[in-house]
Amino acid sequence: MPPLDGHIKFLKRCVDEIHKARGEEVPIALLQYSMGSVHSELGLCSIWLTNI
């Protein structure tokens, strides 16, 4: 299976594409297991996260 980082990179690109089209930020909820990689990969990306 692909490493988790690929998932987060693709998710960030999805967020960026929506942001580019809408001009608004998109809140995202993720399964708890992915939180570590989210923080390391997304850096300053201002999306909203929660441990759903």
Partner: protein, 190 residues
């Protein structure tokens, strides 16, 4: 996922259903469909998920809908896909006991009628032409269509399982699986 902490639920509750998209790739797609099944057919012992309106959308990227191996693509693509049959076999054994294989855990088993009144305005369902799960996804997508779900079923040429995730990981140019996802997300959130 269904038994999330109360604080998370209250945070989610600030959004209308019509503003929410759920989805995932591979086993994430399986989980997303599990949530839909729980909405449509609440399982005894689990918290019912009562929606006051349809979700904006459901995104399914190479969803792991079938734990079986009896489709032509499972054999034909065994040496082409990033998934390897023995690995998938091991994952099935780890994920679910035979006694727990049902419509909730294995969406492929459900008849099309199970998906009637699907609680989402739009569904994007993508899979790769050369993945093990190709035929399973195609058949599952047909059931969604037959059930009246507003679903776009797209087989992506020369794509393997969750191809867009692999492209992201490797820094390769994205293909149709990715561009279709982005186009759909923009439409859904517009």
């Amino acid at each position: 996922m269904l038994e999330s902490p109360p604080c998370s639920k209250s945070e989610i509750d600030i959004y209308k259903n019509s503003q929410i998209v759920i989805g995932g790739d591979s086993c994430g797609g399986n989980l997303a469909l599990g949530v839909i099944s729980q909405i449509l057919h609440p399982m005894k012992g689990l918290t019912p998920l009562n929606l006051d309106g349809h979700l904006a959308g459901v995104l399914l990227i190479s969803p792991w809908v079938n734990f079986g191996e009896d489709t032509p693509s499972f054999t034909a693509n065994a040496l082409k896909d990033c998934l390897h049959p023995p690995l998938l076999r091991e994952m099935v054994e780890t994920y679910v006991a035979d006694s727990d294989r049902n419509n909730y855990s294995e969406p492929y088993l459900a008849e099309s009628s199970w998906w009637q009144s699907f609680p989402a305005k739009s569904v994007l369902h993508l899979w790769g032409e050369i993945e093990l799960l190709r035929d399973s996804c195609a058949e599952f997508g047909g059931k969604l269509s037959k059930a009246g779900v507003n679903v776009e079923n797209i087989e992506c040429p020369l794509h393997v399982h969750v191809d867009c995730i692999l492209d992201a990981q490797a820094g390769l140019e994205y293909g149709e699986m990715a561009t279709n996802t982005w186009g759909w997300l923009v439409r859904v959130f517009s």
